[in-house]
Amino acid sequence: MSEILEKLFEAVEFGKADKASPFPPQLKGQDGANELTKNALDADVDPKDILEQALIPAMERVGKKFSEQKIFVPQMLMSAKAMGASMVQLKPFFASGKIKEKGTFIIGTVKGDLHDIGKNLVSMIVEGGGWKIVDLGVDVSEDKFLEKIDEYPNAVIGLSALLTTTMVNMEDIVKAIRTKKPDARVLIGGAPINDDFCQKIGADYYAADPQKAVEYLNKIAS
């Protein structure tokens, strides 16, 4: 890997978004992900290499450190921010189709339910894994999911629920999705959910945590 990509990897791993950012203290005053990406592009580094050799592997390392409980969520969020700062520079290449995300992941907490901390973590980690995220927020009805499926017909759909009285709403949503798009992949998660429930409602996969969600998504993307 070239020196500049190594530096970008480090900036994302340790959450340095741009030069002005005071975080992390050990990289104070140095270029962040934003400047490093610009420098790399100016030096004719292929945007695909930026994405695949620096950004995604850096976020994979962050995800691994998080799952091994070596860092807390704020550090992971800073890394996600740094990746976002780099993506700003890569935007034109996504627009032109020169580089692509692994796929689109539509995610939401189902209707009647406002618990979103788990869902937000899943979004962040999946995004770091190179997926485009369409986050519909909380209290999301089947109509809203269907609307977004129109917009992103190949997207994988993720449903989150934390209440025993809202997990049942997943069934309606899965049914509605199947009616509209029988081959759509639906991933579900949340504290009261398990494999049996997943099978019962006809969803494709139950992910107990964000890592399992990324593993599943990467498997179907490859």
Binding site: Q69, K70, I71, F72, V73, P74, L77, G112, L114, D116, I117, N120, L121, G137, D139, L163, T164, T165, T166, M167, V168, N169, P192, F197
Partner: protein, 458 residues
């Protein structure tokens, strides 16, 4: 803040089962009057709530109440509180919630009349306002059904009323994930306090009109969310311990507005409220493992007056239905506490010491709940002239206590945890005492699309 001095100023007097201002209920429970009672909390199994299922929903609650009270009777219980925490549909359509209260009240009355077993219902409507973002804390149309449920639910037999209100949560949700202590201070000691003043005036007014008991609020959405996240190792425990202490200045507003306790089970800020105001409290610990894990299983009961399980689904276990099983667990726990109380001061102190010692140095969140630390922190929570200053002083005292415990070798924390201590201290020290100066400092740093200042009277 209205309170200037502690009602309980000695750790020895911060004791389970005894509160300076006990609360007497309709069927004769004297909460905090020398006895600890069980408070059972329960919820539905996997099912939706709609016009087709509402009959079954009602049956669930009847079954739960019958099963629990029958078991309590069998175990010679001296009294029980049943907490009915509503789910969305039950508050949105108050009639559903009211009917459930009536059903459970019927069961309570039957056991009282037939067997002399005293029980009461704590009605806890969920805060519907969080369904709107940015939240319209004062002007939302969703306030009306909540208030209707309070009012009609009390008429139907809900004697104690509580809520887990959510003022400031739109700021604290992100702040928790970022471990941003300044934003947490803003959420709790500015927005939270102001929303509590607005909401609890109304709740106390309704309760007083009917001669019912305005019990108290819980900073569940803030401090328990922090605790659950810390338990999953998502955020540092030292941060969660500070959030707990800061939440005191927000939850105490219910008492300033006239709430009398027992404060709500999932409000682990209860011990501080008890020390400062003298009200009885409810707590949950090891018995709440059915709902979430915690690092404070034993120490949580050190000065409680009701002992709860947070929430358990009405599902079948090998022994029987889960709420009935939890009733039994709670009853055995309170039996022990009550035997200690009967034995007098020495046996209470000994029993409390065991509960405290078994947890205290295992986690900073347990550390802050040790009676001597509750008293020490509570003193700091009253020193300043504003809620902001009080919260800051309490949090700084908490940091002192954590650092002392580490320095003495009694508590061990990983480097990942201790790295946060100086950052948190620096951030807290940067906060001015005056609310208006603090607001001026924070507004430019925050995403103002997330909250509406006018909805907090600002």
């Amino acid at each position: 803040m209205k309170y200037k001095n502690l009602i309980i100023s000695s750790p020895q007097e911060l004791m389970f089962g005894k509160a300076p201002s006990p609360v007497k209920t309709r069927r004769g429970l004297i909460i905090g009057g020398g006895q600890v009672y069980s408070e059972l909390n329960f919820t539905l199994p996997t099912m939706s709530i709609n016009s087709n299922t509402v009959k079954r929903v009602n049956e669930h609650y009847r079954e739960i109440a019958e099963g629990a009270l029958e078991r309590a009777l069998h175990l010679n219980s001296k009294g029980v509180v049943l907490e009915f925490e509503t789910l969305l549909e039950m508050t949105k359509t108050p009639q559903i919630g009211v009917d459930i209260v009536s059903i459970m009240n019927e069961v309570c009355e039957k056991y009282y009349q037939k067997h002399g077993l005293a029980s009461e219902i704590r009605l806890t409507p969920n805060d519907l306002r969080e369904f709107e973002r940015p939240a319209k804390q004062r002007t939302s149309e969703l306030i009306a059904p909540m208030m209707e449920l309070f009012e009609r639910g009390m008429e139907a037999g809900g004697d104690l009323v509580s809520i887990e209100s959510t003022g400031g949560k739109e700021v604290s949700d992100d702040a928790l994930m970022m471990c941003d202590i300044k934003a947490i201070m803003f959420a709790l000691s500015v927005l939270g306090v102001r929303d509590m003043q607005f909401l609890w005036k109304k709740i106390v007014g309704l309760a007083n009109k009917q001669g019912k008991i305005a019990a108290g609020d819980s900073a569940c959405g803030f401090a328990n969310t922090a605790m659950v996240l810390a338990e999953k190792k998502y955020i540092p425990k030292v941060f969660a311990a500070l959030v707990r202490v800061i939440s005191v200045v927000r939850s105490i507003v219910a008492m300033e507005e006239g709430a009398v306790g027992p404060d709500k089970d999932c409000g682990y800020e209860g011990p501080f409220l008890k020390a400062i105001t003298g009200i009885p409290i409810s707590m949950e610990g090891k018995t709440a493992a059915c709902a979430h894990f915690s690092p404070i299983g034993n120490i949580a009961s050190a000065c409680t007056d009701l002992w709860s399980n947070e929430s358990v689904q009405n599902i079948k276990l090998l022994s029987g239905m889960a709420p009935t099983a939890y009733m039994e667990q709670l009853e055995y726990d309170v039996r022990l506490m009550n035997v200690a109380l009967k034995g007098g001061d020495q046996s209470c102190q000994l029993f409390q010491q065991l509960m405290v010692d078994s947890d205290v140095y295992t986690d900073p969140q347990a550390l802050v709940l040790a009676p001597e630390n509750v008293i020490r922190i509570s003193k700091e929570l009253l020193k300043g002239d504003s809620y902001v200053a009080n919260a800051k002083n309490g949090a700084l005292a908490t940091l002192d206590i954590i650092e002392e415990a580490i320095a003495s070798g009694q508590m061990e924390l990983s480097e990942m945890e201790t790295a946060y201590l100086p950052i948190l201290r620096e951030d807290l020290n940067s906060i001015p005492d005056s609310e208006s100066e603090f607001i001026d400092m924070m507004l430019p740093l925050m995403d103002q699309s997330k909250f509406i200042l006018e909805e907090y009277g600002l």
